[in-house]
């Protein structure tokens, strides 16, 4: 409970966060602290509760116990749009883009909160309308540039190839004044080249925007490569937490993914020597 030696509270702090659906404890006693510019991974076998954690800290689900804080401010009970306004932004496991809208409009929608002009200004096309829309377009183009999607701004988002759709999703997440970025399996379905590009983009985001990133991922190469810290979930509880080296040699983690040692598939060496 005691804060570390820092004058600022951590960007994200959860305290015994949990949710119970009927008799099932989907997430139990989840504790994590993420500071500025950290890159943290959340891994675990399928169904371990990783996406549920994301849903909890974005207001999609209300926790049945525990609490979480963004920069020291309690976030329990807030609705999704309020949490987003406060600065927690996520991407989804299944890409949720506005498929029939253009690429640039997708980004512009994410920047809705930045606009100030109201209905009369829109209808009478006043100076503030033009100024703000122009600013919006400029900024949107910058973001598209960061994710290597420049020049595609007027294409329909649904027509982009998969990897580019993922990057558009990230551009959308960047468009908000976020303080914490949650990436839900960002590399799902990408080939090695696309994954490499994604790594670059995540690094760029962290260095340029100085925002911490928490990511759920199954692609171990990405996780080991990019995450400074990893937390492992299984059946809703945290079974390990530490650096990539520590996690990859942690027997509990291996057990969670592969089953107990007795049931583990016999290694090739052993078979050959038998």
């Amino acid at each position: 409970m005691a804060e570390k030696n820092q004058s600022k509270p951590p960007v994200l702090r959860t305290h015994s966060l949990g949710i119970q659906f009927g008799g099932l404890r989907a997430v139990d006693d989840f504790n994590i602290e993420i500071g500025e510019s950290e890159l943290v991974g959340l891994i675990g076998p399928n169904g371990a509760g990783k996406t549920t954690v994301f849903n909890l800290i974005t207001g999609v689900y209300q926790p049945t116990e525990g609490s979480f804080y963004l920069n020291g401010i309690e976030m329990n009970g807030k609705k999704t749009y309020q949490i987003v306004e406060a600065g927690i932004v996520r991407t989804f496991q299944n890409i949720r883009l506005f498929r029939k809208m253009t690429v640039i409009d997708n980004v512009k929608v994410a920047m809705e909160q930045k606009l100030h002009y109201g209905l009369p200004q829109a209808v009478f096309r006043t100076g503030s309308f033009w100024r703000e829309e122009a600013q919006l377009t400029r900024y949107a183009r910058e973001l598209l540039d960061i994710v290597h999607l420049s020049g595609k701004e007027n294409l329909e988002a649904g027509n982009l190839p998969y990897g580019q759709q993922r990057r558009l999703e990230i551009a959308r997440a960047l468009a908000t004044d976020m303080k914490l970025l949650l990436l839900d399996e960002p590399a799902a379905g990408m080939n090695p080249i696309e994954t490499e590009e994604l790594l670059e983009i995540i690094h760029f985001i962290r260095n340029q925007f100085k925002i911490p990133v928490l990511l759920i991922e199954h692609d171990m190469s990405l996780v080991m490569n990019i995450c400074e810290r990893i937390q492992v979930l299984d059946f809703g509880t945290t079974i390990a937490s530490g650096t990539p080296e520590e996690i990859s040699s942690n027997p509990k983690v291996i057990e969670a993914y592969l089953g107990k040692e007795e049931d583990a598939p016999v290694s090739e060496e052993v078979r050959e020597n038998a």
Binding site: V84, E112, A122, V123, F129, A175
Partner: protein, 335 residues
Amino acid sequence: MKKEVLFSYAVNMIAVTALFAVFVLLFETRAFGNSTQYIQGIFTTACYTIIMVTSLNLVVGFMGEFSLGHAGFVSVGAYASAIVSNALAGKGLSDLTLFLVALLAGGIAAGITGVLVGIPALRLRGDYLAIVTVAFAEIIRVAFCNFPITGGGKTISGILKLSTFYRAFWVMVVCVAVMFLFVRSRFGRTVKAIREDYVAAAASGIHVTYYKVLTFTVAAFFAGIGGGLYAHYMTAMIPTNFNFMYSAELLSEVIIGGTGSLTGSILGAAFLSSLPEMMRQFSQYRMLAYSVVLILVMIFRPGGIFGGWEFSLKQLASSLSGKTKSKAVQEKEGM
């Protein structure tokens, strides 16, 4: 950038004025002979139907939600404007001013009703929202049948005939223009995003309920203005004019014309509202034909005839001059 936009605005203004000039010419020279009055009447009907249908399209087409109670807002606008024009008549206001004040009153009254209905109703979605809008519209109808000021269930007549075709035309132009501007702004963008995926929209920080109620209210406002035009053209009305059937008709016109396409609503409404007049002898087959066309549209072309496409003079001009073609090819190749 700004010069381009001003230019396209100017072009559109000129086109509309030219259209108006054509109408003036046709009517002043009595090109239709004895039917001039009659034809003007049809066009006036088309004008207010256009306003009603395009406003409904904002909710159904752009926002992707149901409203089967639009006639309720129309009736609020109709009755409110009639009451106001009756109250202010003979108080020294010019006809035009009286007309505009009455219309505005109708629009505002309908807009307020839109907020009151929208806030509870828009928590629901799909089927349930549809039924609730019907319920609200019916409650409005029953209320008007019981209030003495709205005739107590009987026809009220003697409303001043302030809706001349020329005035109706320009009111229609202004209303449609405002709706276009609404759509081509942050509001239109956000509303379309809500339609596409409201979870993702919320995750982008959009206050979905606020935008839904806002769009609903704007649509109700314009429905009210349409109602005001209606009242001051028909000069007599009864609450049952604005029943479920009328709402269903308006909705059909939105769907057939094309959801998400204001152009489709304009053309659809204009055509479909003048049709019954031109086919007097087939009037009993009108709704039958509507429903068949509607079913066919839903099966074969769910977006409606113009689904999502907007007519643009600028695009027309540039495609004629072949300028945009190479750019379009480039975009298709994903460059």
